[in-house]
């Protein structure tokens, strides 16, 4: 109850600041939007804009003559002025389309490869289909070109405004790998914003999960009211639209979901080229599932078509992230190539794609000292990714020259030295169950803020199944040994067998600190039919979600080594100063008090015995007719009786 008292004012404050922030954002982004990217995004959502930054790097083609020293010459400011001064010179891909009758849909594919500090390789595929159509206003959409029909029908039938679904096998190791481009929790995660025209959201949600279960061949049909929550603040719409009433939001995770080929195949079928051409030929399951981490996702959201946002189009973004383990024993040289990783090479772009690109992250190695990428490319691109300015080598698959004389592209990276220390990720979290015994326990969530001097607020969302009965009065938040009072708490208690606990908190993380959130729970004793077939394995509790605007590394960098004009670098500009980040903790495996399930078997045996013996004898007693049998008289008596009868005397 303390939560409600303290949260009332805090909530107001948060809402106010959100409004202000969104206005500021929209003012900033709208004029700066270049044609195909920035203006598309929802002005409200921070994620959108950062992601946009991530996937639409400004591309600069350098002159051939400058290639030998491979230095980055053009500063970011120059690029920006160029873009803003000439907003009507379209990007090359669009110019091609503008000359012919412009189709209303568009497909782009790209692959980002990032060598990680741990020596692993991170490959991230993104496939994006844009379609300028309207699923919502009654008229039936029947002609599909690039957009998959199955998803289009789902959108129109269930009045979906936004749909985000991810299947992940493995846990993203933030401490070794840094931040992923698109975070996702282990198992399956699904969150959907419905149109405000939907009357019975719960029923629609139920039908939708069952349909998606069929489309993706996953056990999403296990999503029911006991694992669905409506987060009030953690999950905001990423597309356009101004409805943020969380009654139309549903969020569920299935931490136990195992992702394998049967989920990959339907996912690949949604692509316009299938796995026949383009980057998708690399997606061979025998290699993708021979990795340390695998995550595939589908995101659908409405976005603006032009910078004035007069028309709306639907964006379908399919992503696949995979981390390959490159650990080799001994001091052998580490090598990596497209063929080694995916057992395929690239020969062409998807013919339907308007752009098809491969980026290789070479930020850590601008001089080519640590690793060597071949074939060399003279295309460089720079982008702000997760608050960091990254440099990429770019391979454009739509250009024939990329494939060279052998007509196939086999990217090759060779490590020369494996030195280099990774910057600790600024935000990082972990979670575990403390205590022993099967009665009570304590959930500890640790949130690390590794920023040296800046604190920032994070939104922590925890959804705990009902069979762990949280004692919310034991909730403590401490950082640096002191009590840290959350400024906003939203707690929805569970109902047994109906709905889970939902706990959302806005916590300020002090700089360079660990914040620990603990809450005690009691383990419920389930009914005997409620146990899973393997009760001694334990029961899963989904990941907690930590969403935050993190101060960016670039803003931290006061004396930038990059040569920048002095006038441009005093005040950090908005989108550089902080970026949106979502961190998922590991799911928990909790043992509940479990009866000995061989006991029912024993009971059955015992009962059967008792019934057989007891019933048998009782039945025998009830049905048998008892008669008193005359004892047959002895031989002497019989003789005597015969004699007596002959004499006429009554027998003995």
């Amino acid at each position: 109850m303390a939560a409600h008292r303290c949260s009332r004012s805090a909530l107001l404050l948060v809402l106010c600041s959100l409004c202000l922030f969104s206005i500021a954002e929209s003012q900033e982004t709208t004029p700066a939007g270049d044609h195909r990217a920035t203006g598309v995004d929802n002005p409200q959502s921070v994620t959108g804009s950062t992601e946009q930054m991530a996937e639409q790097p400004t591309v600069v083609e350098e002159e051939e003559e400058e290639e030998e020293d491979r230095r980055w010459e053009a500063t970011r400011d120059e690029v920006e002025t160029e873009n803003t001064s000439a907003p009507d010179t379209s990007a090359p891909t669009f110019e091609v389309h503008s000359s012919v009758p412009k189709p209303k849909d568009d497909f782009q594919e790209e692959l980002v490869i990032r060598p990680l500090h741990s020596g692993d390789i991170y490959a991230s595929f993104q496939f994006r289909t844009l379609w300028e159509t309207d699923f919502t206003t009654g008229n039936k959409v029947s002609h599909y070109r690039l957009f998959p029909k199955s998803l289009g029908q789902v959108i129109s039938k269930f009045s979906v405004r936004e749909l985000h679904i991810s299947f992940t096998q493995g846990y993203w190791r933030t401490m070794q790998w840094g931040q992923p481009f698109l975070p996702s929790p282990p198992g399956a995660e699904l969150w959907v914003w419905f149109q405000d025209s939907v009357t019975d959201v719960d029923e629609t949600w139920k039908e939708l999960t069952n349909v998606l279960s069929g489309i993706f061949c996953a056990s999403l049909n296990f999503i029911d009211s006991t694992n669905t929550v409506q987060p009030s603040a953690s999950f905001k719409p990423l597309g356009i639209g101004n409805v943020t009433d969380h009654r139309f939001l549903r969020y569920a995770t299935l931490p136990r979901e195992i992702v394998c080929t049967e989920n990959l195949t339907p996912w690949k079928k949604l692509l316009p080229c299938g796995s026949k051409a383009g980057l998708a030929v690399l997606l061979k399951s025998e290699k993708l599932f021979h990795s340390s981490f695998h995550s595939q996702a589908v995101h659908i959201r409405p976005v603006c078509k032009d910078w004035q946002c007069k028309t709306k189009s639907w964006e379908l973004r399919q992503t696949l992230n995979v981390v390959f383990d490159l650990h080799t024993p001994g001091q052998g040289k580490q090598e990596w190539s497209l063929f080694k990783m995916f057992s395929r090479t690239l020969t062409e772009a998807c013919p339907l794609a308007s752009s098809s690109k491969i980026y290789v992250d070479i930020t850590d190695d601008p001089q080519g000292e640590q690793f060597e990428v071949s074939p060399a490319t003279h295309l460089l691109s720079q982008a702000m990714v997760l608050g960091d300015r990254r440099t990429f080598s770019l391979y454009d698959l739509t250009q024939q020259i990329t494939f060279g004389t052998v007509r196939s592209l086999n990217l090759h990276i060779r490590w020369k030295s494996s030195e280099g220390d990774m910057l600790r990720p600024l935000l990082h979290a972990e979670r575990y169950v403390a205590g022993y015994g099967l009665q009570t326990g304590e959930i500890h969530t640790l949130m690390y803020n590794n920023h040296p001097y800046r604190g920032f607020p994070v939104l922590l969302m925890d959804s705990v199944p009902w069979y762990l009965r949280l004692y919310i009065h034991t909730l403590t938040v401490t950082s640096k040994g002191k009590d840290n009072k959350p400024s906003y708490i939203h707690y929805q208690p569970s109902k047994d067998r109906v709905r889970p606990h939902l706990l959302e908190m806005l916590v300020q993380l002090p700089p360079n600190s660990v914040t620990e959130v603990t809450v005690q729970f009691e383990r419920a004793l389930l009914k005997w039919t409620e146990y899973t077939p393997d009760p001694n394995h334990g029961f899963y509790v989904g990941s907690s979600v930590i969403s935050s605007l993190v101060p960016s590394i670039v803003a931290m960098d006061t004396n930038s080594t990059r040569e920048q004009p002095l006038f441009s670098s005093f005040f950090p500009c908005k989108e550089e100063s902080s970026y949106f980040m979502r961190v998922y903790t590991e799911p928990l495996l909790v043992n509940l008090p479990t009866p000995d399930f061989s006991m029912p078997y024993n009971v059955i045996c015992l009962t059967c015995t008792v019934v057989a013996v007891g019933y048998g004898s009782l039945y025998n007693l009830l049905t048998r007719s008892f008669q008193i049998e005359e004892p047959s008289p002895g031989l002497a008596k019989r003789l005597a009786n015969i004699i007596r009868r002959m004499r006429g005397v009554p027998p003995l």
């Binding site: 096998q169 493995g170 846990y171 190791r173 401490m175 070794q176 282990p186 198992g187 931490p255 599932f289 021979h290 990795s291 340390s292 981490f293 695998h294 383990d325 650990h327 024993p329 972990e430 575990y432 169950v433 403390a434 205590g435 022993y436 015994g437 099967l438 304590e442 500890h444 393997d534 009760p535 001694n536 394995h537 334990g538 899963y540 590991e586 799911p587 928990l588 495996l589 909790v590 043992n591 479990t594």
Partner: protein
């Protein structure tokens, strides 16, 4: 199984072992961290410190400070929910270097395999059990014994099973499986079966209680061999102390066992590779587990590695002993219920007041409380006034309190007004007998061996003691069957079973050290035997002592 079949790998392991065989002082933390990192593990350390309540003279430690090093091998595509632990204690000197070397070798080999579904934690703990206790408390964020430890940085979810490795000598002839854990807890029998199955498969000599298995069950010598093995297990279990690093895992419902390399069967020899293959096999099996081990028995006594006596067979033996107490209680109840016999002068015995029963009860429990608290609290005073060390002071204080207790209840009757009545001792005995029955019953459920051994000695006493038996002889028998003397006999018997008989003086020294170890076990790891004996069993025995001297 391809472990170490590769000559390069074998050479690396041998190099490691020889480097480790060089004497080291303290644990080489930095070297371990670096080595584990180079093998591709996520490495973390944990510092801990602990001041013992009094110096441990057996292991020569008082202020303990140390560091645990552990590396986590992350399973590919696993969500960090389950883990297995392989631990090796590492102390100053070269006691367990073989095991640490093998652990590192296995870590390197395991890292390159693709089949892991659970994270594997390789733990090198300093100061054996204290380090293990610190690590487990850190991992589960509990603090049951008041130890100082730094919080753990990396975890692998809920631990499903653990093995601890101790290879004390360079030459290993056979592997011994140690199961007895804290408070007599045992891991699931399937863990023992797994070990036995792999030993059979690989052809390693395996033992339990250091005794080989014999196949001649029907012969007398074979039978007595099995009985000896079982009695050894019962005595170890009854002691309630962890007999290896695995013993502390059991509190957290983690199935664990210690594998000890021993050197006592000259004709056989097992090299590190074979032990490694055995461990690899066991970990692969445990890795494939979908559920925690739960199918087999948790309560058993092993007469050899392949034979055991389950709870269904041994509990009746205890039950028969318990029945004696219940029958005796029934008898007393009937006697008390029947009208009191008229004495010759026609005076009826007055009803015994509540006080006459309550006073001995309270006084004997106060004596028990003194036995529990005084030894540790009075050590400083004792050291000042007597020429003894702290440890001796603690043990001797305990013995002194124990002996003084014999005199105390003797005088309780003086506190009461008037003579004790015939009815009085019967009521007291009824209470004492029921008390003992409940106490032993509960003990046997938690730690069967302890309950059984206590029942063997205390039940006859409880059955025969009345104020009317010959005083001197009964007093002698009572003292001989008291818990302290039981412990003394157990020490000699245990040495006899282990085929290491000791002289009386050595036995006495051993007895003193056993008492100090028992008190330390309670303080360090939370073993319950010392408080159980001091607070419950000893007062209960004092009640019978009181009955004998009833006036």
């Amino acid at each position: 199984m391809g472990l170490l079949s590769d000559p390069n790998r074998r050479r690396a392991l041998i190099g490691l072992l020889t480097r480790l065989n060089a004497p080291i002082w303290g644990m080489p933390v930095d070297w371990l961290v670096k080595t584990m990192q180079s093998r591709g593990l996520e490495v973390f350390t944990q510092r801990f410190s602990r001041r013992l309540p009094f110096p441990d003279e057996d292991k020569e430690r008082y202020m303990v400070k140390g560091t645990n090093v552990y590396g986590i091998l992350r399973a590919p595509r696993a969500p960090r929910t389950e883990a297995l632990v392989l631990s090796a204690p590492c102390t100053a000197g070269d006691h367990n270097n073989q095991a640490v070397g093998l652990l590192l070798g296995l870590a390197q080999y395991f890292r390159n395999q693709v089949y892991w579904a659970k994270d594997i934690i390789f733990l090198v703990n300093e100061h054996d059990l204290i380090g293990m206790q610190a690590w487990l408390e850190g991992y589960h964020h509990t603090n049951t014994t008041g130890m100082d430890w730094s919080p753990l940085q990396g975890r692998g979810g809920s631990i499903q099973a653990a093995l601890s490795l101790e290879l004390s000598s360079d030459v290993v002839t056979s592997l011994d499986l140690v199961l007895e854990g804290l408070n007599g807890q045992l891991p699931n029998l399937d863990l023992a079966n797994l070990f036995y199955a792999f030993c059979q498969k690989i052809g390693v000599l395996c033992t339990t209680q250091g005794k080989l298995q014999r196949n001649d069950w029907d012969s007398v010598s074979g039978y007595s061999h099995a009985v000896q093995t079982m009695m050894l297990m019962a005595m170890k279990q009854a002691s309630g102390r962890p007999w290896g690093d695995h013993g502390l895992f059991l509190r957290y419902h983690i199935e664990a066992a210690t594998i000890k390399g021993i050197n006592s069967f000259r004709q056989y020899k097992t090299d590190a590779t074979t032990v490694g293959r055995l461990l690899e096999g066991m970990y692969r099996k445990l890795n494939n587990l979908l559920e925690r081990l739960h199918q087999s028995y948790f309560f058993y006594l092993m007469s050899s590695l392949s034979h055991f006596v389950s709870i269904g067979y041994y509990m009746p033996a205890f039950g028969l002993l318990g029945v004696i107490l219940l029958l005796r209680a029934l008898d007393l109840w009937v006697q008390l219920a029947s009208p009191p016999p008229r004495t010759e002068d026609g005076v009826v015995d007055a009803d015994p007041g509540v006080l006459s029963v309550l006073t001995p009860l309270v006084i004997s429990h106060l004596t028990g409380a003194a036995l529990y608290t005084l030894p540790i609290h009075f050590q400083e005073m004792a050291v000042e006034h007597f020429p003894v060390s702290e440890t001796e002071a603690v043990v001797l204080t305990a013995i002194a309190v124990y002996t003084a207790g014999l005199a105390l209840p003797h005088n309780t009757n003086r506190l009461l007004t008037g003579q004790g009545t015939e009815q009085g001792w019967k009521v007291l005995k009824l209470v004492a007998v029921l008390y003992l029955a409940v106490l032993l019953g509960c003990t046997a459920l938690i730690n069967f061996s302890l309950g059984f051994i206590l029942a063997l000695t205390l039940v006859p006493v409880a059955a025969f003691v009345t104020p009317n038996v010959p005083k001197v002889l009964s007093a002698f028998v009572l003292v001989v069957l008291s818990p302290a003397c039981t412990l003394l006999f157990s020490v000699f018997f245990f040495q006899e079973l282990q085929e290491m008989p000791v002289s009386f003086l050595d036995g006495w020294m051993l007895y003193l050290s056993v008492i100090s170890q028992g008190i330390l076990d309670h303080a360090l790891y939370g073993s319950l035997v010392y408080p159980l004996v001091a607070l419950l069993v000893y007062p209960c025995w004092l009640l019978f002592w009181n009955i004998l001297f009833w006036k």
